[in-house]
Symmetry: C2
Subunit: 311 residues, 2 copies
């Protein structure tokens, strides 16, 4: 058994995008095993257990990930993750992977796959709402799939915009008021908001939106009116209804599960698609265990390994 640390170092984001795309294709074809995430509540947060088996990549395992909002005050990340990989033939644990940064990156890769299939064009103006780690990996991953002409960045704190732009010197970056950042081809929302911060009248026809921030009941970033006039694609319907961008509108009766256009997996295999150039498309991302396995497959070729005795 091996312990993999620093597995994000030197990871080829293009390869990660392809592995995650292949995982979504298998999801679209129903060729995976992925029971629902299991939640356990701790005094100041929770942890989620995410088992899966991805036959096409020959990988099986479990990601364990916590969410503890008070951690940063203690000098720890809010979210930390560990993935255990089992040998598909014998069930033996063969790897334990530090998956904290991989969790961000596989979310970036899902956004990039959504962009590849749903963006209105290949050369895009990218609007970015929020400037945290999720925003960063979205730009990294999307830049592998689309040519980015410009990045319009909005953050509550202008100093964050400057720091963010410094990380992406390869692209023309501009600070923008939130409504101007929405005037783009692809919009990425990455905030932990619990009230809609993107208004319906700011979104023009033909826009694709990656709705990344909402990942728990009660969170939402988009005016529900946007969802009502958009084609909404989810990673997994059950998870999206429970904790994705659509969770609050559904609980308020402003959106129905039957309004969902399809899954990203169905888009990847060509079963569902953007209606036309005028359609607004939304990818509602909650994060799937198969994404974690797909990135684990690549990450195990990277980073420092420590040999551990087992059994």
């Amino acid at each position: 058994m091996e312990y993999f640390t620093d597995t994000d170092m030197g990871l080829d984001m293009g390869l990660v995008n392809r592995a995650v795309e292949s995982a979504f294709a298998d999801h679209g074809r129903g060729q995976i095993q992925m029971p629902p995430k299991v939640y356990v509540t701790l005094p100041e947060g929770d942890f989620r257990t995410m088992p899966a088996y991805l036959p096409s990549l020959g990988i099986a395992g479990v990601k364990i990930v916590n969410v503890h909002p008070a951690n940063p005050a203690r000098g720890l990340p809010t979210v930390m993750a560990l993935t255990v990989i089992l040998d598909v033939g014998t069930g033996q644990p063969v790897a334990v992977i530090n998956a904290t940064r991989l969790t961000d990156m596989r979310t970036g890769a899902a956004g990039a796959v959504a962009c590849k299939y749903l963006a209105p064009k290949k050369e895009i103006v990218l609007g970015v709402i929020g400037t945290g780690r999720q925003a960063e990996v979205q730009v990294m991953a999307i830049s592998q799939e689309c040519r980015i002409r410009q990045i319009k960045i909005w953050s509550r704190d202008p100093s964050h915009v400057r720091k963010f732009a410094d990380r992406f010197m390869a692209f023309p970056c501009v600070a923008a008021p939130v409504e101007k950042a929405c005037d783009c081809d692809v919009l990425v929302t990455t905030t932990p908001s619990r009230v809609p911060i993107i208004r319906d009248d700011w979104i023009h026809e033909g826009t694709h939106i990656n709705a990344i921030g909402a990942d728990a009941p009660g969170k939402e970033e988009l005016d529900p009116a946007i969802l009502q006039r958009a084609q909404v694609f989810v990673d997994d319907p059950a998870q999206a209804v429970h904790s994705g961008e659509i969770n609050v509108p559904i609980s308020k009766g402003l959106y129905r599960e039957s309004d969902i256009e399809g899954t990203l997996g169905e888009v990847v295999i060509g079963k569902k698609k953007r209606r036309d150039a005028e359609a607004i498309t939304v990818f509602d991302s909650t994060g799937l265990a198969i994404q974690d396995l797909a990135i684990a497959k690549i990450a195990m070729q990277h980073g420092r390994k420590i040999e551990l005795p087992f059994p």
Copy 2:
């Protein structure tokens, strides 16, 4: 984060029994979190993901355990397990534990706790059906709770009986035909049988039975008539109905879930008990995640530790 290996070495089985007893008490009081085991099927076996949080011991985590019947032919155990422990305050992974042998031992401890509360007397003749690893840990653990006057051992293969007896020289051991082994105070059944091997007329009044072998749909060791005249206590009703000793009789309409007398947790907290000296009592063990956490708590004070960088 630390990796713990060889954690079974030097483990005080009495301490393990107490920790597992305390976990069952919390289970009886409803003071735990333990979502149902999640199964994922692999080509030649399966793996189970078992998350839990045990507030009284201040421990949370996930056991991941496979079952691959063809493994011994490859020189690997059928069952291998890894437990990941998270810090209850921050959710940070703090330990990864080689839990293969701990899994056997915590099952032994559950059997010992059942004996402590349900055996008809403190000085017992112990009948043991099967001579594998599960039989061994049952004897080890039970010997901490009851004085064993004699062990009557039955195995399909007589040479296994000799080897088994050699491991327990401290007790008078005799090889016995299966029906004679049943003439005892406490009977432990540990075979992977899929047809009843213990007949109803072999079991006299006042016997306590630890039914350990049946841990998957289709497995059973006891004539259902034994269950019908016994007080049956389970570790967890949902798991027992799905995969415990009662699973086949229930599926055949020979036993009902409502016939279950109670849980071992309820017995430990005094809510349920052996009716009288003449009652036959059965403990139907399927294995709970809280047992894995209880033994992990003790095991982390033992064995070799390897320091791992995280996050």
